[in-house]
Subunit: 406 residues, 2 copies
């Protein structure tokens, strides 16, 4: 089979920052993105944060000619924001929604409402089966005190497990998305190590774009400059990762990023920079990098580190479960006390009207409100505890497997 | 390879009905189940409705000798209730939580709180890779007017897709569980057709147990007799399904069910009957039944039927989304009206005190309560609509694929 022609695949990935009513100059930018995609003619386009189905439909209508196949992944209240455009037929799709994704009461962070997920589309090009994954993990709002780290780690682990379990018949695996993790973060090391995926930026023969491949840069007029203060060059959180799982090799010949303002325009496409990879896929005589852990020799250490962080999150969730449970019990006690007092008054035990009616009713309503709220939160944190426990146990199992067969 | 020795695998499946505080004689029954499993020495045990982790730990402690490997799948508020005991090492696990699973406000049905899921464990026996799935789908509370049919269909579809995508490297696929569907229901036809799984009851060379293989029978002292009135023999909703995906064949040599009261005891193990299959697995010269749709020649019709039902559910969800949204808007208007009236009073526009303070406050609290409740429900039904739309689209895609390559 040696000497087979090389298949060239051009992949585009972008977090489009297309939040209705909130993202600046959204419609204009979605139009620009569509124009550029039509002009450039990539083979595969992986988009995140296309929250509005209307935006997706507009893109689909515009791109129908050069990308006849597309899929929008629906999930959560707002949607997953994930979609794929392809020059080649999409044979099958699957969506996996992460079990943890922030907190519904953190309205200002909104991640919970998005139903963050990983979408899979299966594509066959020249007889080669591609499993293409697109995802968007929970945002990092404060790097120093990142309350969402355990949730993002659960997501990274679920993503890795989902890819491993679903890609066994694929020839080539591609993952594109906004992982909200810096290249050296434990989550991405876990993902790379556990799946064997390689980072297109690190592997690229040629690179052109922002220094260090950053995808959130101070030069972009839409980024929040204060958030990037500790990182003068910006940060790299958007990735294209790949591997060959059977007798194929994949090489990244070229990687590019956009660099702020789009050429010939006065605004960038998004607050993120796009990542564009040119991959060369070739049939080989024997299997290449299909072994677990080739990309991460110290995988056991990474799994241990991830497990520790998940453990920290687990203890925090257990504390929150306890305190919300206690609050619900206290509210219930207050209500029972009020009921007893009211019954006492009705039965004529107390002389006259011991409490002003208005304050009494307000207090009762307050107690009912607290009871409902605390019960809801208690249920939510119970789910959180369960999922963190489940992940911790799976990481323990993974560690044991690694230690038994290093 | 012809002439390889046959591998015999004895599989046990039971919905244990082990709901803390609710299920009758739970602890006694869990003990009985443990005793019987230890005595019988199956190869694989797939259990559902083990809601309490304590019950799982007790079983694990008791069964450690004969089933050294086990896994409990955590999910939802209460848990998934799913667990697996195995004589052979469990190499890997994955949990997929169904995107729809009833309604949180249907407290009397409780399914929503269970986080219904499908659990996968990967096992290797004599070099043969087994993907073993255990699941429990949404209950059917009223067959004549089954409000949960669209949700159960979404679950059946997600189950089929999850199995298809994760089992591509498996030699043998096994699925056990309480599917809450009769053998001729559209959901199970879809599941069988789309995955190629075969029904152990239909394929068994020998059968011993309840007539028609029923697993919910009037003879069982824990079943609700009125629910089984239209079915004098009972109903069959618990299954063991299987297929060989590569060059193997699987044959069901024997299928058994329990028949109400356990032998030598005064109570049954559960309100469901257990299903026990003896499977013979043999290596073959060439691949067997790996083609899609071999088990269901009229698959396109089944997909169409499923799509119609999902469409019915979609329209109902859209109506509920609309009416809850309208209720939220009305509550908000009432609140605004009250705020205007209160401001007017404060500004001295109205002479004196136009409303009694107590009724005014109660009305405001009532409006706030309705607003919060209606908003929550609106968000929930928005998710429901999205997931039903997503499934309908996937079914449409599946139908197109079937029509293009029948």
């Amino acid at each position: 089979m040696e000497g087979d022609p090389t298949l060239q695949l051009r992949v585009f990935d972008l977090n489009c920052w297309a939040i209705r009513y909130l993202s600046k100059r959204r419609q204009e930018r979605v139009r620009l993105i569509g124009d550029m995609l039509r002009q450039e003619g990539f083979d595969l386009v992986l988009l995140q944060e296309v929250w509005s189905e209307r935006d997706y439909s507009d893109l689909k209508a515009k791109l129908g000619g050069c990308y006849p196949f597309s899929h929008y992944f629906r999930s959560g209240v707002i949607g997953s924001g994930l979609c794929v455009f392809s020059r080649f037929p999409i044979l099958d799709t699957l969506l996996y929604q992460y079990s943890l994704n922030g907190y519904p009461y953190m309205l200002q962070h909104g991640d919970w409402f998005c139903g963050k997920s990983v979408g899979l589309v299966v594509i066959k090009i020249s007889g080669i089966v591609f499993n293409v994954y697109v995802t968007h993990l929970h945002a990092e709002y404060c790097r120093e005190k990142d309350a969402y780290l355990p949730h993002r780690l659960v997501q990274a682990w679920e993503l890795a497990q989902f890819i491993r379990h679903t890609s066994k018949a694929a020839d080539v695996v591609l993952l594109g998305g906004d992982l909200n993790m810096h290249p050296e973060d434990v989550g991405i090391r876990l993902l790379r190590g556990w799946t064997g995926l390689r980072d297109a930026f690190a592997e690229a023969t040629r690179f052109e774009g922002c220094e260090d491949g950053c995808t959130l840069i101070p030069n972009n007029c839409f980024t929040v400059k204060t958030e990037l203060l500790p990182f003068p060059l910006g940060i790299r959180i958007d990735y294209i990762l790949y591997k060959a799982v059977s007798s194929f090799t994949v090489k990244c010949k070229e990687l590019k990023t956009t660099t702020g303002t789009a050429p010939g325009m006065d605004i960038p496409f998004s607050d993120h920079e796009a990542v564009m990879a040119t991959l060369h896929i070739q049939r080989q005589g024997q299997a290449a990098d299909s072994n677990l852990g080739t990309a991460e020799p110290m995988l056991a250490d990474v799994v241990t580190e991830a497990r520790t962080e998940v453990g920290v999150g687990l203890r925090a969730a257990q504390r929150q479960r306890y305190s919300t449970g206690r609050m619900a019990v206290l509210a219930l006690l207050l209500l029972l006390l009020q009921a007893a007092a009211a019954l006492g008054t009705l039965a004529g035990l107390a002389a006259g009207q011991p409490f002003p009616k208005l304050s009494f009713s307000l207090l009762a309503f307050f107690a009912i409100g607290i009871l409902l709220l605390a019960t809801g939160l208690h249920l939510f944190h119970t789910i959180e505890v369960k999922m963190l426990q489940g992940t911790e146990e799976q990481l323990r199992m993974a560690l044991r497997a690694l230690q038994e067969h290093p």
